[in-house]
Symmetry: C2
Subunit: 212 residues, 2 copies
DNA sequence: GTCTATAATAGGATAGAC
DNA sequence: GTCTATCCTATTATAGAC
């Protein structure tokens, strides 16, 4: 179904999503007007409403596309097997690579969590977002539990650790100027990405290892 | 100077800040209108412009007040002495307490980092925010470096680790519905806060400990 | 310090021609 | 599928009475 989501849209629809993704990531749901999106695509404002019947629907479509892209890669990465420790590290590395390769992703992901108050909680779009999220957090939480049961990870609350890990991995790539000033370099530069990846992996590896 | 910021405003000014803080945290800069703030305070819209000459200025004032409140507590906490490990853990615990005690803080902090594109980079307000941030990250980064030099923490890039720590500690309290569904409970509930605090402390302690 | 009134602009969304 | 024109509402901000 996630594959259908990725290919089941016209080329104009995808161009709209491309433009909207960048804008929503930069300025958030309320900060972006349909006119600005239309200008970016090279269309009149009204034409957008032919492809997406409301701003809400456009925003949700952007979120679902990102979540499915990330979800597909993570699930594939997890399926490649290995011990829980190996799989977790591969998974964190993969997530860093996706976020580093798509500068809009981290911001839009975090923003979408904050803007839940601004958007309808019900409706089919919201449920699609929901399913996509659970398709990611579910397997990761299960992986942590497996690692604890196997004695590879120390005992901890898997769900709380997942929450911490999301912040740990995603936030740096959403931190913008804050991160840039802290590091003295663009967060998306190759060297910074590798540094962030290795520091994240070290923190996760050592932080979750069972004491000997 | 941060003390002056905290007391150097009329009671009406502070009431406006209280209302604006909650609204900006919920819906972001662009998502909140001056009218909504005015209604919340019980004033006419125009009266707000007597206290803050623009929406930008109001938003910056909200950010600076939060940053100074957090900064004051962190700096005080750090000044209480101890080994780097002890001080870092006290610092993380204190930060968790502040964020848990003020549900608007984490969201507004993260949002303010994303909305840098939406607001002027120059000007006195932006510089005040800047100073407040450096007053927090500077001491923490120095603490990490001290711990590494003392052989208590493993070698790592202090600045990159600070970025990870901010995400790790701040994000959960900004995660809203996402965190709520993941944990199956309100993130700000006493038991959840304690769980998040202890899991954060464990991850930081084990994750930064020098190998023996 | 707070108010009413107003300016000037932009917002989301729809109707209907082509 | 895209366009122009339009509707209605909301936006930030200012002017000036009280």
């Amino acid at each position: 179904m996630s594959v259908a989501t990725l290919v089941g849209r016209s080329s104009t629809g995808n161009r709209i999503l491309d433009v909207a993704e960048v804008l929503f990531a930069q300025r958030g749901y309320a900060g972006v007007g349909m006119r600005e999106v239309a200008d970016g695509v090279g269309l009149g404002k009204s034409s957008l409403f032919h492809h997406f019947k409301s701003k809400d629907e456009l925003y949700s479509a952007v979120c679902v596309r990102i979540l499915d892209t990330i979800g597909d890669r993570l699930v594939r990465s997890l399926a490649r097997g290995g011990t829980p420790g190996v799989r977790l590290e591969r998974c964190v590395g993969e997530l860093v690579d996706v976020l580093a390769g798509h500068p809009s992703y981290a911001r839009l992901l975090l923003r979408s969590m904050f803007e839940g108050d601004d958007l309808p909680d019900e409706g089919p779009e919201s449920e699609a977002v929901h399913r996509s999220i659970e398709g990611i957090t579910g397997p990761v939480e299960a992986l942590l539990t497996d690692g604890m049961d196997a004695g590879e990870f120390r005992r901890a609350s898997a769900s709380h650790v997942v929450l911490l890990l999301v912040g740990l991995v995603v936030f740096p790539f959403a931190s913008g100027e804050f991160g840039e000033e802290l590091l003295g370099a663009d967060v998306f530069e190759g060297a910074q990405v590798e540094r962030l990846k290795s520091e994240s992996l070290n923190l996760v590896r050592e932080g979750l290892r069972a004491r000997v």
